[in-house]
């Protein structure tokens, strides 16, 4: 156990963002399980994206994997300010993987499926914000150190 070097607010905001992402992913997972995501709706894009083959990995809905990832981020962001040394590096790894996945999914929506779903875009925004919160302090600290 060590004293955290970051403001606890970083972790609080990260945990809250993870909860938003978790809620979004749970909603999408349930839509997938119940078959509701297969229906066409007046909201452009969602049914095309959520019923595409990219919406699941094997037989597991991608949204369920997203929910597990957001829950992991919440757990790590909650543990980090309490001095659990492993939490921050793990948080960085998980968020980096999520960000890369988000970029891939945005590419699929834009160029392969050619439709955007607002729930997926919300998740992309949350992951991008998480990436900024988790990595910006380190980058700013490194830049300040280089300037000195």
């Amino acid at each position: 156990m060590t004293t955290p070097t970051r403001s606890p607010w970083t972790y609080i905001v990260a945990a809250l963002l993870a909860l938003v992402g978790l809620g979004d992913s749970i909603y999408l997972t349930v839509q997938h399980i119940t078959g509701e995501s297969l229906r066409c709706t007046i909201i452009s894009g969602c049914s095309e994206v959520l019923s595409s083959p990219y919406a699941q990995v094997g037989s597991v809905p991608l949204a369920a994997i997203g929910a597990a990832a957001y829950f992991t981020v919440f757990s790590l962001a909650t543990l980090a300010p309490f001095g659990y040394r492993f939490a921050l590096p793990c948080l960085k790894i998980v968020v980096a993987l999520m960000f890369l996945t988000t970029l891939w999914l945005l590419y699929l929506q834009a160029f392969v499926i050619r439709h955007f779903c607002q729930y997926c875009l919300l998740s992309a925004a949350v992951t991008t914000a998480l990436t900024a919160i988790v990595f910006l302090p380190s980058l700013l600290k490194r830049r300040a150190r280089d300037a000195n």
Binding site: V30, T34, G35, C40, T41, I43, F71, F74, T78
Partner: protein, 228 residues
């Protein structure tokens, strides 16, 4: 003690998440004419008259479908629905309602017009065009523009034995426009938000009940209620 706090928070979120999944996955309470906030049967708009009916007109169970010919899910469900119709035979009548999701599906309205225009010539021709549109959904959905899609519909009309000139007159006519409007009014009154949406004797198939086996279960339940 301080070390336990984060684990308590994590546990709370885990339990909350699982509860949310359980709550959202539960079948929704019945809606439709028998539901609490929906209009009583008498006050519900009836939709286009006469309705498009397939199966025994006096069957004890009515499956009312709101669909969009350009909706991929409706196209996929079309085959399931045929199986369901064959399974229940004379005990089931299927009512079709137009619910084009324009502008999300840019050719949905003209496809609905094509089906209704065929229906003006005869009820049998409506169902032939209905099947034609779903079975060739991929082809006309990928037409380069509306004119090209309409040309394909005219071709389908001729294939099923319709008079092409009359088909085009009806396609742009008031009768077809009125039918689309009336079905739209009924759909909105019933709270239809997506397609395909099904009502079994007025009760909406939601969640798990929306899937083919769920619809079968609802039909069986309605048959039991009707004493068949």
């Amino acid at each position: 003690m301080k070390r336990i706090v984060p684990f308590i928070l994590i546990l709370v979120v885990l339990v909350g998440g699982l509860l949310a999944v359980w709550r959202l996955s539960r079948p929704a309470p019945p809606s439709g004419p028998s539901g609490g906030s929906t209009p009583a049967p008498g006050s519900l708009p009836e939709g286009a008259k006469p309705a498009h009916i397939r199966g025994n007109p006096n069957a004890p169970v009515t499956l009312e479908e709101f669909a969009d010919f350009q909706c991929g899910a409706c196209g996929a469900y079309h085959h399931e629905l045929k199986k369901i119709e064959a399974e229940f035979g004379e005990r089931l009548r299927v009512v079709f309602r137009e619910n084009p999701l324009y502008p999300n599906h840019p050719y949905s309205v003209i496809a609905a017009q094509a089906a209704e225009a065929a229906g003006v010539q005869s009820e049998n021709h409506f169902w032939l065009m209905h099947d034609k549109l779903f079975e060739n959904q991929k082809s006309w959905t990928e037409a380069r523009d509306k004119d090209a899609a309409v040309a394909m519909f005219v071709d389908y009309a001729q294939q099923i034995g319709l008079n092409a000139d009359r088909f085009m007159r009806d396609f742009n006519g008031e009768v077809v426009a009125q039918r689309l409007t009336q079905d739209g009014i009924r759909g909105r009154a019933l709270g239809v938000q997506g397609t395909p949406t099904f009502f079994v004797n007025g009760k909406e198939a939601k969640g798990e009940s929306w899937k083919p086996d769920g619809v079968r279960a609802m039909i069986n339940e309605a048959l039991r209620d009707a004493g068949r």
